[in-house]
C-alpha cells in the first residue's frame, strides 16, 4: 500500500510575531526565524507510519511544496518514519494560494498512484482549509475532512473514520480507497524525534530525498497573481473599561480616574444571601444568553 502525506513547514506560532501590513508577511522577533512542522502535519505522518507498521509491505512518502529552506522539516519526516520524501521546490510561497498548491500537488501525486493521501486540516498562517478538498477533486477520489480517528478495515479497500463536527459531536464515516483524508491535530500523539535521529537522516538518507524543481514553476502559474490584495490591521478589541469602585468615596474615585485607572482589574462581586446571589447569577446567565427561557 502506498501512502502519501502532504506536509508544509510554517513559522512557529509559539513566539511573538508581527504581521507587516505592507506585505502581509509575518515577522518574528527571534534572532533567527523559527520554523516547524505543524502538529496536524505530524499527526498525519504519524498515522501513515502507524498504518504501515500495522499492515507491513507499505510505503510512506512525504510531499511538500515549499522553498528550499524547508529541507530540515523533510529530514524530520524521514526521521519520523517516512520511506521517501519529495520536495517540490517553490521559491515563491507568497503567491502560492491554496489553489496553486493543490494543483501542484495534484500533478505530482497523479504520477505516484497512492492508495491514501493524508494531510493536515488547516494551516496556521492563511488558514484556507482548501487544499485537501481541491486535491481530492483533482485526483477524483473521495475525501473526508476533520478526521479524529482512522481505522483501516480488513481487505484494505475501505477506511472507517470519525469526523469532528461542531459542539463536540462526532460522525462516523466509511470511505473507499483511494481517498484524501484531512486530519485534525487531535488524531494521535506524533512520536518524538530526537535531534540525533534527524542528523542521522541527513547523514544517511540522502538517497531518499528527492527534489522536484520543475513542477512548481509550470503548474498553476496562471493562477498565481489573480488576486489583488492589500492588508489592514485588525480592529482593536473592545477593551473592558476599569470602572472605579462605586462604593468608594468621590475623592477616591477621582483619584482612581486621574491616575489612569491603574488599579488591577477586579471582577464585579455579587453580594447578598445565597438565594439572592443565585438569583443574580441566573439573571446574568440569562442576560448573556447561556440559558434561555422559552417564550411561553
Amino acid at each position: 500500500m502506498r501512502i502519501a502525506v502532504c506536509v508544509r513547514e510554517t513559522l512557529y506560532p509559539g513566539v511573538p510575531y508581527e504581521v507587516n501590513t505592507e506585505t502581509g508577511v509575518a515577522e518574528q522577533k527571534e534572532p533567527c526565524p523559527v520554523y516547524w512542522l505543524p502538529t496536524h502535519d505530524r499527526c498525519a505522518l504519524e498515522e501513515a507510519v502507524r498504518i504501515r507498521e500495522a499492515l507491513g509491505n507499505s510505503e510512506v512518502i512525504a510531499f511538500t511544496v515549499a522553498p528550499t529552506r524547508a529541507s530540515d522539516s523533510l529530514y524530520r519526516c524521514l526521521a519520523m518514519g517516512a520511506d521517501r520524501v519529495v520536495h517540490v521546490v517553490d521559491e515563491e510561497p507568497d503567491t502560492s494560494t491554496s489553489r496553486v498548491v493543490a494543483m501542484i500537488l495534484g500533478e505530482v501525486l497523479k504520477k505516484v498512484c497512492c492508495d491514501l493521501v493524508l494531510c493536515g486540516d488547516c494551516s496556521f498562517d492563511a488558514g484556507a482549509c482548501q487544499v485537501p478538498q481541491h486535491l481530492a477533486a483533482l485526483l477524483d477520489v473521495p475525501q473526508v475532512t476533520r478526521v479524529l480517528d482512522v481505522q483501516m478495515l480488513p481487505g484494505q479497500k475501505r477506511l472507517k473514520v470519525v469526523r469532528k463536527l461542531e459542539r463536540g459531536n462526532r460522525e462516523t464515516v466509511e470511505c473507499s480507497l483511494p481517498a484524501v483524508v484531512a486530519v485534525d491535530s487531535a488524531l494521535n500523539e506524533p512520536r518524538y524525534v530526537s535531534l540525533h535521529a534527524c542528523y542521522r537522516a541527513v547523514r544517511a538518507r540522502g538517497s531518499d530525498y528527492e527534489v522536484d524543481a520543475d513542477t512548481a514553476r509550470s503548474v498553476g502559474s496562471e493562477h498565481r497573481n489573480l488576486r489583488v490584495a492589500r492588508f489592514i490591521p485588525p480592529r482593536p478589541p473592545v477593551k473592558k473599561m476599569v470602572m472605579p469602585d462605586m462604593k468608594a468615596s468621590a475623592a477616591d474615585r477621582l483619584k482612581f480616574i486621574l491616575s489612569g485607572s491603574s488599579a488591577e482589574k477586579m471582577s464585579d462581586l455579587l453580594d447578598g444571601t445565597t438565594d439572592e446571589v443565585v438569583r443574580q447569577l441566573i439573571g446574568i446567565l440569562q442576560r448573556e444568553g447561556f440559558i434561555l427561557t422559552q417564550k411561553s
Partner: protein, 332 residues
C-alpha cells in the same frame, strides 16, 4: 441569471444551521448592490418545508434539491448536485457557511468548477464592480483584503457567528423551485455510519461552549456530583485544576492550565479555584468568566468578569436546584 447571489443553506438535526441565516443577511446587501436576486439552496431529503424561514430571512428564491440518498451529508453526491446547479444557473456569487460540512463541500465544488474560492471571509462587498472580501490571517493579526476579478462563479465561505443575523420578516414569501436531481448513487464513495452527540461526559473541554471548572474549593464528593449536574444543565462539560486532578476528581484531559489544556469557551464557571497563574493561563481566552470562591483576595477575581464570594457548600446546591427547576419549566 447573470447577477444572482446564492447562499448554501445547511441543515443539521432537522433545522437550519444559524450560519444559513447569517449569510443571507450579507447576501441581501450584495444582491442589492449588484441588482440581482438572492437565492438559497437546500440540498437534502424532505427538507423543503425549511424554505419558509429562508424567505423570512431575505431569500427571493429557494432551490430545493431533494433525493432520498441526500438525507445525510456525503461529499460526492452533494458536490455533484451543487456543481450541476451552479453550472445550470450560473450565479455570480455562491456563499456557504464555513461549517465542517460547508468547508468540505464548497472547496470541492470550487475545484470541480475551476472557480475561485476564498474561505473564512468576514465581509463580502462590492467595490469597483468587483467583489471585495476581507479575511483574517495569522490568527487574526492581519486582515487580507482581496479584490476578486476572476470570472464567475465566485465562491466564498463565512464562519458561523462572524456576521449578524437580520431580523426575519415573518410575512415575506418567495419562489420555491424544486430541482431535478440526477445522481450517480454508485459514484458516492463515502457513507455516513452514524452520529454521536456529545454529552457532558464525552464533550471535550476544548470544544465545549460552557465549561464548569472545579478546583480545590469544591471539596466533597456530593459537591462534585453537583458540579457534574451543573455542567449538564448548562449544556457544557466539566474541567478542573491540578488539585482536582491530584484528588482524582477529573482526568488529565480535563485539566485546564499550563500543563494541561487551553480552553476558550463562551462561558467559564470557576468554582473553588484560587486562580494561580498555572491555571488561568489555560482559560485566559474564555469570553465570559464567573468565579465563586470563599476568599475575597483570591487571584481568580482579577480574571473573572463576575465574582461571588461565597461558600460553595451553600451556593452550589441552591444554584443547581434553581437551574433544575428552570429546566423543568422549559429552560432551553
Amino acid at each position: 441569471m447573470g447577477n444572482s447571489i446564492w447562499t448554501v443553506a445547511e441543515c443539521t438535526d432537522e433545522r437550519l444551521h444559524e450560519v444559513s441565516f447569517e449569510i443571507l443577511g450579507e447576501g441581501r446587501k450584495l444582491a442589492a448592490a449588484v441588482q440581482g436576486e438572492l437565492a438559497a439552496i437546500i440540498i437534502g431529503s424532505k427538507k423543503a418545508h425549511l424554505a419558509n424561514t429562508l424567505f423570512q430571512y431575505g431569500a427571493d428564491k429557494v432551490y430545493v434539491a431533494e433525493h432520498p440518498s441526500l438525507g445525510d451529508y456525503a461529499t460526492e453526491s452533494y458536490t455533484q448536485v451543487l456543481a450541476d446547479l451552479v453550472q445550470k444557473y450560473s450565479p455570480y456569487v455562491v456563499v456557504a457557511g464555513a461549517t465542517p460540512n460547508g468547508c468540505d463541500l464548497i472547496a470541492r465544488v470550487a475545484a470541480r468548477l475551476d472557480a475561485e474560492l476564498v474561505t473564512n471571509c468576514t465581509s463580502i462587498r462590492v467595490r469597483e464592480s468587483n467583489i471585495e472580501v476581507n479575511r483574517p490571517e495569522y490568527e487574526g493579526k492581519v486582515y487580507r483584503v482581496i479584490l476578486c476579478s476572476s470570472p464567475p462563479p465566485l465562491m466564498f465561505s463565512v464562519k458561523s457567528g462572524v456576521l449578524g443575523k437580520d431580523t426575519p420578516r415573518l410575512s415575506r414569501q418567495g419562489e420555491l423551485v424544486h430541482v431535478e436531481v440526477a445522481l450517480d448513487a454508485d459514484g458516492v464513495r463515502t457513507k455516513s455510519l452514524g452520529f454521536q452527540k456529545a454529552s457532558a461526559k464525552t464533550l471535550d473541554v476544548a470544544e465545549s461552549e460552557v465549561v464548569v471548572v472545579g478546583g480545590a474549593g469544591v471539596g466533597r464528593t456530593e459537591n462534585w456530583r453537583l458540579v457534574d449536574e451543573l455542567a449538564e444543565l448548562l449544556g457544557g462539560c466539566v474541567g478542573g485544576t491540578r488539585m482536582a486532578m491530584d484528588a482524582g476528581r477529573i482526568d488529565r484531559e480535563r485539566l485546564v492550565g499550563q500543563t494541561g489544556r487551553s480552553i476558550g469557551p463562551k462561558l467559564c464557571l470557576e468554582l473553588g479555584v484560587s486562580g494561580a497563574v498555572q491555571h488561568t493561563a489555560g482559560m485566559r481566552d474564555s469570553k465570559f468568566t464567573i468565579a465563586v470562591n470563599m476568599d475575597r483576595g483570591a487571584p481568580i477575581f482579577k480574571v473573572a468578569d463576575t465574582g461571588v464570594v461565597a461558600d460553595l457548600n451553600d451556593l452550589l446546591p441552591v444554584l443547581v436546584r434553581s437551574l433544575r427547576h428552570l429546566k423543568g419549566s422549559g429552560k432551553v
